[in-house]
């Protein structure tokens, strides 16, 4: 287990290096800079600003500087928000996104698992068809369709929730559902498939023959095996939640990282954009590692590989 973790950690270093290099040189090739929009700067002032951000040095020097700072976890100053570093901006916005992501994931796992288990136990009855039809909808509808539609119904017509904001606990409900819907549907499908496979095995028949209650059959005998595919889906799901939060945060006006990223894109705040990309990459790689560890723990077969 320790070997797996160290091996995977060493693998992430070249990946981050490549990501950092790619983004750095893309940024250098970019036409137009963040300071183009400043009012009528004289050449002297401009040179001074550039010197302040180290933009007057040769490119390779800037690149080495950037990598050096990066190695220490410093993503540099924001080009747009004077006096702020990218790190500070990231840490101020990330908790909001994290909270949203966790709610969405919790929503997806809770409802997805329940629906999937029920569908598997009631195979080929209405208890199976109804949740699975909903799942098909959930998988096909993107967040930027469901988000506005949910707003239309629950905020505008029924006025149960506010249309935007992130102050009260109930402001969390619609964004979390919007973000989690796709994953709920997917988890439900995976759970159904996994449980059906396990429930048809001999040891389940034995358990039933010995008079184990339905609850015990599900809880003690099938869940662990039936959930393997769900666990391996969580890795890609986290990556998707990150991307999805860009849209959800824009729709509901949530002051999270996704909204910051989109704004930085519009403002051509290159250090901020790069910093966010790198941050997302690290986040997702770490999450995938955690998911892999959980998988090995759940499935002893993998320990020998």
């Amino acid at each position: 287990m320790l070997r797996l973790i160290t091996k995977r950690l060493f693998e992430t270093i070249p990946v981050l290096f490549i990501v950092a290099t790619l983004t750095f040189f893309m940024m250098k090739r970019a036409p137009g800079g963040p300071f183009d929009s400043e009012k009528q700067t004289t050449p002297e002032i401009r040179a001074q600003i550039e010197a302040q951000y180290g933009l007057d040095k040769p490119v390779w020097q800037q690149y080495l500087d950037y990598l050096g700072h990066l190695a220490q976890g410093d993503l540099g100053p924001s080009f747009k928000y004077a006096g702020w570093s990218v790190n500070e901006l990231l840490w101020s916005a990330f908790p909001v996104s994290l909270e949203l992501g966790l709610y969405a994931l919790a929503f997806a796992l809770t409802f997805g698992l329940i629906a999937g288990i029920i569908a598997a136990l009631r195979k080929n009855t209405w208890g199976d068809y109804v949740p699975m039809s909903f799942a098909t909808f959930g998988i096909c509808l993107p967040t930027f369709v469901t988000g506005p539609l949910l707003l239309l119904v629950f905020a505008s017509w029924l006025t149960w929730f506010n249309a935007s904001g992130w102050e009260q606990p109930r402001d969390r409900v619609l964004p979390a559902i919007t973000l989690g819907l796709y994953y709920t549907a997917y988890v439900a499908r995976l759970t159904r498939g996994g449980m059906l496979e396990i429930l048809s095995q001999d040891f389940i028949r034995t358990a039933r023959a010995k008079g184990a209650s339905e609850w015990r059959v599900v809880w003690r005998h099938s869940l662990r095996g039936g959930l393997l595919s769900v666990v391996s889906f969580i890795g890609p799901a986290i990556s998707g939640l990150v991307t999805g939060s860009l849209v959800v945060e824009s729709i509901y006006q949530i002051p999270g990282l996704g909204k910051f990223f989109v704004m930085a894109g519009f403002n051509r705040d290159y250090t901020m954009v790069m910093g966010t990309v790198l941050f997302y990459a690290v986040l997702i790689i770490v999450m995938n590692l955690l998911v892999d560890i959980v998988q090995v723990w759940l499935n002893p077969k993998l320990r020998f590989e």
Partner: protein, 293 residues
């Protein structure tokens, strides 16, 4: 007792493709999906030749109106006909879907083919590379590209295509690994054919079926990415419209003019449904057993 009837009709044999076609025809959802997409594509294609349909004609005096006999899907706040904009948006969305899918299929097939055929160390390295790429948030890289090089529809084709090839590469590699061990490839190699020729003449035709099937499943994914980018404002630029930008416009004014959200969102969702059903139907019809992972 009459003599047995001579057999006049010989049951015709079915080729693989005929079988697949028969099976596909029985799948009602897939057929409905195919018809919907075809009708929509035709309507979008012919939109510029229809009199009275324009995506940019404004009528400020009219403003936003609910659906009526003159404007079936209503008009937006600038008085533009929503149906026309939807059809023109369809041109953009569908062409991005096709073009980017083409790019992704090219990259995926080549990558998977070379990796699988050469095998060994290179294969292990290439597949590890794919694994790592799977973990990265690619849509964000596409946004980075669009931010840095400006919003440009051709860049959009390439950028989306460049990030959606991973599944295809895996599937093709799996197929090639299986094909490689078959006798006819062995024979070709024994005849001394070059690798390039074996790949081009013997491998590619044999993976074509699978590639076509999975391409139909890439199209909706690509369209989703395009709409996602356009929704965030990184896609096509006004006055051009894609379904993503139309949904964005609708989402901004859903309180006053819900029809501006309803029609593009509905149209887009129906298209995604249809393409997914069609792709699944094709996969079942051709009985492609390649796993989805």
């Amino acid at each position: 007792m009459s003599p047995p009837q001579p057999i006049t009709e010989v049951e015709a044999g079915h080729s693989l493709w005929q079988d697949a076609w028969l099976r596909l025809r029985k799948n009602k959802m897939a057929v409905a999906g195919a018809i919907f997409v075809l009708v929509l594509a035709l309507a979008s294609l012919t939109a510029p030749f229809m009199p009275g349909l324009s995506y940019s004609n404004q009528n400020l005096a009219l403003g936003a109106t609910a659906p009526s006999a003159a404007h079936w899907f209503g008009t937006d706040d600038l008085g533009r006909d929503q149906l026309s904009r939807l059809l023109y948006g369809g041109r953009v969305s569908l062409s991005v879907g096709l073009a980017a899918t083409l790019v992704s299929v090219l990259i995926g097939v080549l990558f998977g083919m070379i990796s699988g055929y050469i095998g060994g160390r290179l294969d292990a390295l290439a597949m590890r590379f794919v694994d790592i790429l799977y973990a990265l948030p690619f849509t964000i890289f596409v946004i980075l590209l669009m931010v840095i090089y400006g919003r440009n529809i051709y860049l959009l084709f390439i950028a989306i295509g460049a990030v959606e090839w991973l599944d295809m590469a895996r599937i093709v590699r799996g197929q090639v690994l299986a094909l490689k061990k078959q006798e006819f490839v062995e024979a070709a190699r024994a005849l001394g054919l070059r690798k390039r020729r074996i790949i081009l003449r013997h491998m590619i035709p044999n993976v074509l079926g699978i590639v076509i099937v999975f391409s139909t499943l890439i199209v909706p994914r690509v369209m989703l990415t395009e709409a996602f980018l356009s929704f965030l404002g990184f896609g096509v630029q006004a006055p051009q419209a894609s379904w993503g930008t139309l949904i964005q416009d609708g989402a901004r004014s859903w309180e006053e003019f819900p029809w501006l959200l309803f029609f593009p969102a509905g149209c887009f969702s129906l298209t995604l449904f249809s393409l997914n059903f069609l792709g699944d139907g094709l996969r079942d019809a051709l009985d492609v057993r390649a796993s989805k992972d």
